[in-house]
Symmetry: C2
Subunit: 107 residues, 2 copies
DNA sequence: ATAATTCATCAACGTTTCTTGATGTAATAG
DNA sequence: CTATTACATCAAGAAACGTTGATGAATTAT
């Protein structure tokens, strides 16, 4: 069992911030198919390289993707750890929502 | 079984945007205890009323909370539907991450 | 009726984020 | 070696966001 470091609220906000952009959501969607290099993504999105580089950095800094250099290419992939931490936050919110709904529903 | 309208990517981005601010995350945290009026929240956060009103609107527009007027008070609470849709998005991302990790792990 | 309370909205301002094009760096190719 | 490729980073401007204080609408109290 891996040790899981609890994130502060600032980190959580940062993760959601990274997810708050359509381009970045599309990048994640694209990475669902597996590891890709920036060149693949520029092909797919038909956009400037520096723009993609910017968004990849945001996702990486948020811990949502991993970067693996190989030769002159940089391969990006989904970061399971980061996504699991995200899921924990959402699950806890869902649990509270369910409790509140249950409380409110039966007068 | 409730009918679940699929959200476009813009809507998903909007939900994450709503979650990308520390104050709004604290508001949600506070609402985990159940429905609260704006006055309760201004007490808790010791901040200006218009500031809270702004953040509550963002959360409401994103579908994460519900507003219930009663007399001169407005009660806010977590919106289970919105949170569940959020969870669906994250779960799907997690599933893809797991698949990718499994693929990558065993050379 | 007037006054007070609760909250939403607006305008103005500063801050952050996103995009674009240019420059820099490291690895490979010729 | 020089040239090229793949990518990161920087600087400048545009757009979106968050804060503040003022105003407005609806409700309740006196």
């Amino acid at each position: 069992m891996r040790i899981k470091m609890a994130k502060g609220i600032a980190d959580v906000a940062k993760v959601f911030q990274a997810l708050s952009d359509e381009t970045r959501l599309l990048i994640l969607e694209q990475l669902k198919d597996g590891e890709q290099c920036v060149c693949d993504l520029t092909d797919v999105f038909k956009t400037g390289q520096s723009r993609l580089s910017f968004h990849l950095r945001v996702l990486k800094d948020a811990g949502l993707i991993l970067a693996r250099p190989e030769g002159r290419w940089m391969y990006y992939s989904l970061n399971l750890d980061g996504v699991e931490e995200l899921q924990d936050v959402v699950t806890s919110l869902k649990a509270a929502s369910s409790r509140a709904a249950k409380r409110g529903c039966c007068p």
